[in-house]
């Protein structure tokens, strides 16, 4: 607490003495900002009463029961899964091919491939969503389901690639050399040496792709046509037209799913990898 000015300015002195305390405050305040809304959702999911009000009169599991017996919400979950599961599988396959090609081969257009695999992150979602609905539904005449799966593949490829690529970069190439010296060809080496070694990264990339696809809204919203809503689209409609406390429950289910999948992904790779964009 001593802030007697020396040769440096008083502000500099103040910052110097209290730097670590200021950092602790910043960390605490910002993390509270990030987590309080999530805590509110969880809390409100137990609130009684048909309208949203705070604080709730009493706590109840009623809206969980409503949610579980709500066919529309359950159908939305099934619809979401029938899109996310195949989209994730395709996305992981393509992302692994991108990572392998970019890392192991030199070919014309290699930088373009990397750029193409990064751009879907960068172009605003609404722009790509619009472009996709024009081309898939308008020009190609694809069905809503196929369009949505393709859209989810494009959406998740950049993230899966960014997780898988570093595991290829960091894995000891000597093992592959050894395998080839022992007479294995490239395909065998990939299956028996490379793949098992990068498998945690592939699973992590897949989990993140799935999380992203399960949560995906903008592309789905534009491309899906009038087909069955996915869960995010269902929630969007609920929020916009008739909010019930059930939305809080769905949110909590979503949160638990996302948090557990991401934690699983983190346990398979380094936390910084999820960070790469």
């Amino acid at each position: 607490m001593s802030s007697t000015g020396g040769l440096t300015g008083p502000i500099e002195r103040l910052v110097q003495t209290h730097a670590s305390r200021m950092a602790a405050v910043v960390i605490a305040v910002v993390i509270a900002f990030l987590w309080v809304p999530i805590g509110v959702l969880v809390f409100m999911s137990f609130a009684d009463g048909g309208v949203l009000s705070f604080p709730p009169d009493e706590l109840t599991l009623r809206w969980y029961r409503v949610f579980l017996s709500n066919d529309a919400a359950m159908d939305a979950i099934v619809t979401t899964l029938t899109i996310s599961v195949p989209a994730t599988a395709i996305s992981v396959l393509l992302s692994t091919m991108i990572a392998y090609a970019v890392n192991r081969y030199v070919f014309p257009g290699r930088n373009w491939l990397q750029l193409l695999a990064t751009l879907p992150i960068v172009v605003p979602l609404v722009v790509t969503g619009v472009a996709m609905v024009l081309f898939f539904n308008g020009t190609l005449g694809l069905s809503g389901y196929v369009s949505v799966v393709i859209a989810h593949v494009v959406r998740t490829i950049p993230f899966a690639t960014l997780v898988i690529l570093p595991t290829l970069l960091t894995f000891d190439r000597g093992l592959e050399e050894a395998s080839k010296d022992l007479g294995a060809d490239e395909l065998q080496t990939f299956r028996q040496v490379t793949l098992p070694n990068i498998f945690p990264g592939i699973v992590a990339g897949g989990l993140l792709a799935f999380t992203l696809s399960f949560n995906e809204f903008v592309y789905t919203y534009f491309v899906k046509g009038s087909g069955d809503p996915t869960l995010p689209v269902y929630i969007w409609n609920q929020i916009r037209y008739n909010v019930t406390p059930e939305v809080n429950v769905i949110s909590v289910v979503f949160l638990l799913l996302a948090v557990s999948l991401v934690l699983l992904a983190v346990s398979l790779t380094r936390v910084e990898l999820l960070a790469r964009r």
């Binding site: 705070f54 472009a131 007479g183 294995a184 498998f199």
Partner: protein
């Protein structure tokens, strides 16, 4: 799942490796392998081709198709026209929306950059539990965007969590929902984790000796920050800024759910053209205008040194 097959690299396939590999999958693979070994370009094509094809066909070509449609009259396949662009760029209403979107995006970017940098700096330089803290920061990012907005509706609406808390403290209610502050809060909330990551990466890579040197030479903490830390991490800052600005500029969810009718942003206009007005070519033209702005900013960001489109594994 495949973990067990990886531990031992197969002492069983020594000499007749190719044969045994082919045999256990019913033949063919060894032959395929040999075929590709003699044709490396074909092999590269087999690996790089499919993802390349998918991204070109389903990402690049749709964007080009949007460009084409934006020059057509009221419907797809209509006559060629410039009217979508002239209507848009000649309308004060739309230009005001673009201007307002720009202002909101700049404010959001400034707020997120300031808070995000302070947070990343605090974690990197003053905390030992960096992994846990980083996880706490990025986990909310992986939850559904719409649900995160819905959480804020719970908080900001009149008689919501915020107002009730203020009441309990004897303060007047603020009823922030459907106001510009609500939009700024919502955007800050969704993008903060995204911006912290490049800030964090660049601060982690900063050589601590440089800071010591600066202090040894007599600079105070603020001087050290402005003349060493910030310039040395500017690439990460630019990356984070671009990552926040671009999605904000194109967003329609946050302004629709939190902003109400007084806070229209350009993404909402596009959504309207596709979902209510059904004037797809006009929506496509606005999409092109947004894309031009975004590409210009990306090029600027890359020129200034942002690592957003940096290839390979390195982050800024």
């Amino acid at each position: 799942m495949a973990e067990q097959s990886g531990a031992s690299v197969g002492p069983e396939d020594d000499d007749d490796a190719t044969r045994s590999g082919a045999a256990d999958t019913g033949g063919g693979l060894g032959a395929v392998s040999a075929f590709f070994r003699e044709r490396p370009r074909l092999r590269t094509l087999a690996v790089a081709g499919p993802p390349y094809g998918v991204l070109i066909l389903f990402f690049a070509i749709p964007l080009l198709a949007m460009l084409v449609v934006s020059f057509q009259t009221g419907e797809i396949g209509g006559a060629w026209t410039l009217s979508n662009y002239t209507d848009f760029l000649g309308s004060d209403t739309y230009l005001t929306v673009v201007w307002k979107t720009l202002l909101v995006s700049l404010q959001v970017t400034a707020i997120v950059a300031t808070i995000g940098y302070a947070l990343a700096y605090s974690i990197v330089r003053f905390s030992r539990r960096t992994t846990l803290l980083l996880l706490l920061v990025i986990l909310p990012f992986w939850t559904s965007y719409i649900i995160r907005m819905y959480a804020w509706i719970n908080i900001l609406q009149s008689d919501g969590v915020l107002d009730s808390t203020l009441n309990m403290l004897g303060l007047p209610a603020v009823s922030l929902l459907y106001s510009e502050p609500a939009v700024l809060i919502g955007f800050t909330y969704v993008w903060l984790p995204l911006a912290v990551l490049p800030f964090y990466a660049s601060l982690t890579n900063l050589d601590g000796d440089l800071i010591e040197a600066s202090k040894d030479l007599g600079a105070g903490p603020i001087r050290t920050f402005t003349s060493v830390t910030l310039p040395m991490t500017i690439n990460g800052v630019i990356t984070g800024v671009v990552l926040v600005f671009i999605p904000t500029f194109g967003s329609f969810i946050t302004p629709r759910l939190l902003g109400g009718t007084n806070n229209i942003m350009i993404g909402m206009v596009i959504e309207n053209q596709f979902k209510s007005a059904f004037n797809w070519p006009f929506g496509a033209a606005i999409g092109m205008v947004i894309s031009v702005v975004v590409v210009a900013l990306l090029v600027l960001g890359t020129r200034l040194g942002g690592g957003l489109l940096a290839t390979g594994g390195e982050e800024a």
